[in-house]
């Protein structure tokens, strides 16, 4: 870290008075983190059966195979050590601190989903739109897949902001706890629509001597029903592409007729089958949930994975991995609601150009590289954790 900062400071330029630059920002952050854990309310179901891991700014999991008998015992350690990252196992073990892994005696694991905003042009300062999009995906995962399709009770699902670019969903349901990697892959593939052959839900049928194009009914379960409901929604919204699929004009009369047909699984004349197939394939991305990269998928598949402890501090942003109830997620704003430190103002010097960033109900940036600025503590901590600024004493 010091080496990285050193090179950054050189980039900023010689004219900056580095005598004033406070380099022991790690100590500053550690002090804040220790203070946070002294008053934080952390809940961990079956804490005594889980493995814990702590991380530093350089490595998210530096030490693992740790075990705490109770949450209180763990919280005392957090106050003492003030780790930049705290992770715990999705898995339950008989001996969580035993090594090697086989000796832990795996008893089962929560079903975890890691949804991250895709890394794109907004770079290391994830923009509000990306965070909002991934929140939408998270809600869809929970409501349409976990609750509607898998029948998971709301009380067995907990959601938390990851502290970085997305959300973690934890399912603590006895039905899934013993599932292995292969079975979890089947679940992930279902949610992400992997292996989904849209055309397999449609076929040419014969009704009342007229050849028709048949498909899933609105009330059907699984992807069949999802496809039917998405098509119906788009017809109602007047989506020209979907109307073209049916080869009909958008009129109330046609809409009623198509609705009635779809209720019985009848879609249109067989003559439009090819158009239908193409159009339906394009809907796939709207229906499934994007579970992101292979790494994110691995979080679900790996039954001994360590995942960020809900309500712990994310050392890469200084934000808390805040638990969010499903009923509150709509209005949850991570850049305000996940702020863990906001006591007064702090003077910083930017080590790179900072774009405008929404923070704690206000805004920080834009800040030019090398510019000195007084920021709210939340903004300063965020930039410090992103290694984008230094503190000034």
């Amino acid at each position: 870290m010091e080496g990285t900062l050193g090179s950054m400071r050189r980039k900023v330029g010689r004219e900056t008075d580095f005598a004033m630059v406070q380099v022991s920002h790690i100590e500053y952050l550690k002090g804040l983190i220790a203070g946070y854990y002294r008053s934080a309310r952390i809940e961990i179901p079956q804490a005594g059966s889980r493995e814990f891991g702590f991380g530093s700014p350089e490595k998210k999991i530096e030490t693992r195979h740790m075990w705490f008998k109770t949450v209180q015992e763990m919280q005392q350690a957090l106050c003492r050590i003030a780790p930049f990252y705290v992770s715990y196992s999705a898995a339950y073990y008989e001996f969580p601190d035993a090594r090697p892994m086989a000796k832990k005696n795996w008893l089962g694991a929560d079903l975890i989903f890691d949804l991250d905003a895709p890394a794109h042009s907004c770079g290391k300062f994830t923009c509000e739109k990306c965070l909002e999009d991934i929140k939408g995906q998270t809600v869809r995962l929970v409501e349409e897949f976990l609750i509607d399709d898998f029948g998971v009770e709301k009380s067995k699902i907990s959601i938390n902001f990851s502290g970085g670019r997305g959300y973690h969903v934890h399912v603590r349901d006895d039905r899934f706890v013993r599932l292995g990697r292969e079975e979890r892959r089947e679940i992930v593939d279902y949610i992400s629509g992997t292996g989904l052959d849209m055309e397999s839900f449609f076929f040419k049928g014969d009704s009342q001597k007229n050849k028709v194009f048949c498909g899933p009914k609105i009330t059907q379960g699984g992807f069949g029903g999802k496809i039917a409901r998405e098509i119906k929604k788009r017809l109602e919204a007047g989506d020209s592409g979907v109307w073209r699929m049916f080869g009909k004009k958008h009129t109330q009369k046609n809409l009623e007729s198509l609705r009635r047909g779809m209720e019985n699984g009848i879609y249109s004349d067989a003559a439009h089958a090819a158009e239908m197939s193409r159009g339906i394939e394009a809907l796939k991305s709207e229906i499934a949930v994007c579970l992101g990269s292979q790494t994110d998928v691995n979080v679900t598949l790996d039954t001994s994975k360590l995942i960020r402890l809900p309500d712990s501090i994310h050392g890469g942003s200084g934000l808390a991995a805040r638990s969010v109830g499903l009923e509150r997620i709509g209005e949850f704003d991570p850049m305000a609601d996940a702020v863990a430190f906001n006591d007064g103002e702090v003077e910083i010097i930017a080590l790179e150009a900072i774009p405008p960033i929404a923070m704690a109900g206000g805004k920080i940036g834009p800040i030019a590289q090398g510019e000195r600025k007084t920021l709210c503590q939340a903004g300063a901590v965020y930039l410090l954790c992103k290694k984008a600024c230094s503190l000034i004493r």
Binding site: F150, G195, S200
Partner: protein
């Protein structure tokens, strides 16, 4: 539970209890029946004959004895390939009965295997004894569904924690998979076996076809990771899903490997049947199937690496290309 159920499904807990209550010994008759069952299961045909029904207790006890002794003999061989092959044969035999069972008998088997299901809709006229459509808890379905495209969760009617609209043959196929897994995980049977069992195992080994391991002469280093994985799984006697086997056959046929060599690769599959394999490989050859793209392989869960070759066959070309370039550079031709 009907007494014949023990003979049909000797792996059930009730059947085991029934067998222990009968104090079955190692009579010559039972030993011979056990050895025959083992040979039928892990020999060339891989098919265990059905017993003659009639409700006779002696027949049922004989079947249970044969099953128990067969497991001991195969365990003595200490080879995962034979164990997996026995599990496949036993589960297929059981499926042969399951297809004609009443809903109630299906339930007895399913409950013992830890699989739940419920009948849906009215009882059928075709199956006078029961229904034709069923639903199964999602978590049971994902544990035991066969790993083929038709059974993938993404293609099922999933709602409220159940997979619905499963036809009878699909339900029994899932139960077959649950039986295979139960038998596989319960073996090898541990313990000191009588000398007769050890002798029978030694005798049986001589009757079994010799396992071929080293086969294809194409440098395996040029195969893409997905194909290598299928081959190594087959070599380890893993029960590789149908789609993977088909993809492997298409790849090897396209790569110019002879039918003979391809068939040899499959000899270690637990359900290997030379005649069927040969027929299927020839079928792939005659139809000239095109190699599925990496995207298709990924959607079937076969892709294991990001080679970026778009098609597994192109991986070979890429490696060849790289090798040629390397060779040219080393020999100075590339300058």
């Amino acid at each position: 539970m009907e007494i014949e159920m023990h003979a049909k499904y000797p792996f059930l807990s009730d059947s085991k209890q029934f067998a222990s209550s009968k104090n079955i010994g190692f009579s010559d008759l039972y030993l011979e029946a056990g050895a025959k069952r083992a040979l039928a299961a892990i020999g060339e045909r891989g098919e265990i004959p059905k017993f003659a029904p009639g409700g006779l207790e002696s027949v049922v006890v004989g079947e249970l004895a044969a099953y128990t002794i067969c497991r001991m003999i195969v365990s003595t061989l200490a080879n995962r390939y034979y164990i997996n092959r026995l599990a496949v044969a036993e589960s297929k035999r059981a499926r042969g009965y399951l297809d004609y069972e009443s809903d109630e008998n299906l339930r007895v088997v399913a409950v013992d295997l830890g699989v739940g299901f419920e009948a849906q809709g009215p009882a059928s006229g075709t199956y006078s004894k029961g229904h034709e459509s069923f639903r199964m808890p999602l978590h049971d379905y994902v544990r035991f569904c066969p790993k083929t495209a038709d059974y993938r969760l993404v293609r099922q009617d999933v709602a409220h924690g159940f997979v619905s609209g499963l036809k009878r043959e699909r339900l029994t196929r899932v139960l077959e998979e649950a039986i295979r897994k139960r038998i596989e995980s319960g073996m090898p049977v541990r313990g000191e076996f009588p000398q007769q069992i050890v002798r029978l195992a030694q005798k049986l080994k001589k009757l079994l076809p010799v396992q071929q391991v080293e086969v294809v002469k194409i440098p395996i280093g040029n195969y893409p990771p997905c194909i290598k994985k299928i081959i190594s799984d087959l070599a380890a006697s893993v029960n590789v899903p149908h789609t993977s086997r088909w993809a492997l056959a298409v790849y090897l046929v396209s790569a110019g490997v002879t039918t003979e060599d391809i068939v040899k690769l499959f000899t270690t599959a637990p359900d290997f049947n030379e005649q069927t394999t040969r027929y299927q490989v020839e079928h792939v050859r005659s139809k000239a199937y095109r190699m599925p793209s990496c995207a298709s392989m990924d959607s079937w869960g076969i892709c294991i690496a990001s080679c970026r070759c778009f098609n597994p066959l192109k991986f070979d070309l890429r490696v060849h290309g790289r090798n040629i370039r390397q060779h040219e550079e080393e020999s100075g031709k590339g300058d």
